[in-house]
Symmetry: C2
Subunit: 450 residues, 2 copies
């Protein structure tokens, strides 16, 4: 029943495109859900995609367009004339239309807008273009349903029917006063089951109405919608006048992107990269972290070279270099990951930095002690009792240090309004390498009395 | 307007609790949104939390309970009698009630269920307990609204009003035939604006209805709801009979948890850990990865010890050990992170393993070449031209190998139905350390002709 895209399907489709077998497309593609059609179009060339796109009805075109991969959508739109783009925009929700326009040059925007037939829609879109794309204003759409508190249920249904034409998904009706200020909300369910002569003011909900301001940052919006379990949130201006709404599906993408971004930063990838990006772009996205790692490696080399003497006398000291750096790195990444997740959840109000440091320090002490005991035995068998002591003692110190550094650095970055996720990747590993080696060789020189 | 929890607020609240100043709580806590009250309760002791909890009305109690941190909720419920728990369950949605019961022992479940007064609710909950918690059945709730296709709009409104009492959020009405089989859906909006005598069968939507089976895995449900932009999805049994629905807020948590889990695995943390977990539990969650890292370190030591001779003759070879391991690790993590994200997005149908390997291999070649040229110059200044060649050549080989290994291992894990995210953390770093060192010293021995 559900569609699964396969390579075989694409192969057949390409063949049918060459044959221009329209009836095959009607039977096998146009009947699919728009999300599935978009998934197919993501795999095609512009010409193939256009062929299918202009076979589907207008409403579905709009849905497909918004489901396409960003890269694919950009190149697809670039292949359309401004008139064709203008036609597409008329079918889109205002927020989506504004997003698409935002990708174009100022000149193109003027051209597209001037070719739109629906003036009201054009005005909404132009208005949305004024907001910073990383704010609630940049996320919101102009399509929502509002009722005046003084209307009766009867009148509301008539008025709302007109409004509802443009609004795809209706969750709540926003209730406003005479000045258009948001004063509450009314669920469709409640309206449906109220008697016709009741006044809206008698049945709407006014307590604990959660809204956001146009200037609120988008991450804030995501957190609020998540915390309060909202599927849609009204957006107000500075006078508390209702100007738009944001729906959860727009925010789910944001939540996912945020999580993906943290994951990518932790993995040492500096830009968001589409899967089908070119080898060149992928390389570029990864190089910064590799270079940081290399600079770290050079510092490490510098540290070790100070102890060249020691290595000449006791070459087995070199054996445990990777163990020290790997363990320090792992501990640092673990600690920083916890701090980053806790900051991402907005749990930075409760509990001081000192408390977090104490806790991570304790965890470090426990794990450090356990690892030290284990490694003493192993290094002893491997080489000598002295080397066992050197590795064991320095590993313990390294683990504790790494835990503290891993906690402290993301906290410091956060205090200075830098994304703490920056600290989880190669950055913290590199720092811990250098510090760990210094500890290791210092302990080594002391115990071997070199 | 929105509430922000501060340490100061908690301090005042504790003071007011000691004074048993009920009116302060009425004014400053009970008026808040349930999500805010839950956030406060998360910070309190059981006794303090109970004091507030039993001041609020029953419906809000249910909402608060589901918003509490899992740990806090568990200990809070443990402090209630079975009768008190039974009372709480009556106010919860069936899916939430079943989740809570699922945490109790079989004996406690019997006791709680027998003390519930609403038999129908009890039956729903017991039924839900039969489903595996990681399936659609385990996620779904019994509260939904359905209409028979043969009803008129008039009759539907009467019938639905009765059904709607139990259902908090109504997005769509599910339309069924005489056998209770799901045949389509009807938006509240459409029902609201239809004329009273119309038949449901004339206005409902039957095309592209997306549903899940009770046995579908929860991750699959999340992917489908995300892909098709659904706020709720109907759940059917094997005969396509409608048995429940899943709402997006339950799935958003799942999506976030999934992303968090990948992030934690990549960071070397093996269990999901609450922020306020004990030092002991945190240590335990991290140890497995640290031990893997240590085993890797021992293997590395084993590899290096084979070249003890070389180090004695050319101690400066040891300088670049951390550079080799760090770079190999970074490249491996980058490659594996991309593969893991691509697999998580379900993009494994398109493009063969060979294509992915080729691409990552190419990226490795490019970055490896660049890093090699850079490091040659630096190592040359540092030590000698021969060492420059050794580091440069081996770094290049290591980067290419690491990129291939980082791509291959998660793909292999995925093929064998093991979570590929396992491969992103210490595991891949460790493997690359060992292989990288082997390459480095082999090249070193060759060029120094030892």
């Amino acid at each position: 029943m559900r569609f699964t895209l396969t390579k075989e399907f694409i192969d057949v489709l390409r063949q049918k495109y060459v044959e221009q077998d329209t009836s095959w497309f009607h039977e096998n593609v146009l009947e699919l859900h728009y999300a599935d059609i978009a998934e197919i179009l993501d795999q095609l060339t512009n010409d193939e995609a256009k062929f299918i796109y202009f076979l589907v009805d207008e409403d579905t075109q709009a849905d497909i367009l918004m489901e396409l991969d960003e890269d694919v959508r950009d190149r697809f739109l670039a292949s359309l004339t401004t008139k064709e783009i203008a036609d597409q925009l008329e079918n889109l929700d205002s927020d989506d239309a504004a997003d698409i326009l935002g990708e174009l040059s100022d000149e193109q925007i003027h051209e597209v807008i001037s070719q739109m037939e629906d003036d009201e829609a054009a005005e909404d879109i132009v208005d949305l273009l004024n907001y910073d794309e990383n704010t609630a204003g940049g996320l919101m759409q102009k399509e929502f349903i509002q009722a005046n508190m003084n209307w009766t249920v009867d009148r509301a249904i008539v008025e709302l029917r007109r409004q509802a034409e443009d609004v795809e998904k209706v969750y709540n009706i926003y209730v406003v006063d005479e000045l258009n200020k948001l004063i509450g909300l009314l669920s469709l369910k409640r309206l449906l089951f109220a008697s016709p002569k009741t006044q809206i003011s008698e049945i709407f909900q006014s307590k604990n109405i959660i809204s956001v301001k146009t200037s609120d940052p988008d991450e804030e919006v995501a957190k609020i919608m998540e915390k309060y379990d909202l599927v849609a949130i009204p957006v107000v201006d500075f006078q508390n006048k209702l100007v738009g709404r944001i729906t959860l599906d727009d925010v789910v993408n944001l939540i996912k992107e945020e999580a993906d971004k943290d994951f990518q930063l932790a993995s040492g990838i500096s830009e968001r990269i589409e899967l089908n990006a070119s080898v060149w772009r992928i390389s570029r996205a990864r190089l910064p972290w590799l270079l940081i790692g290399m600079v770290g490696g050079i510092f490490s080399a510098q540290v070790i070279s100070q102890y060249e003497n020691g290595i000449t006398l006791v070459p087995s000291l070199a054996f445990f270099i990777p163990l020290i750096t790997a363990t320090g790195g792992n501990v640092g990444v673990q600690s920083s990951a916890i701090v980053v997740q806790s900051l991402a959840k907005g749990n930075d109000q409760i509990g001081s930095i000192m408390q977090k440091l104490m806790k991570e320090g304790l965890v470090g002490l426990m794990n450090g002690a356990l690892l030290s005991v284990l490694i003493y035995g192993i290094a002893f068998i491997f080489a000598s009792s002295t080397l066992g002591f050197v590795v064991s003692i320095s590993l313990f110190v390294v683990v504790v240090f790494a835990a503290i550094i891993g906690t402290l650095i993301p906290l410091i970055l956060h205090k200075n309004n830098i994304d703490p996720a920056l600290a989880t990747g190669p950055f913290i590993t590199t720092l811990n390498d250098v510090i760990g080696l210094f500890i290791y060789f210092t302990v080594g020189m002391l115990l071997y009395q070199i």
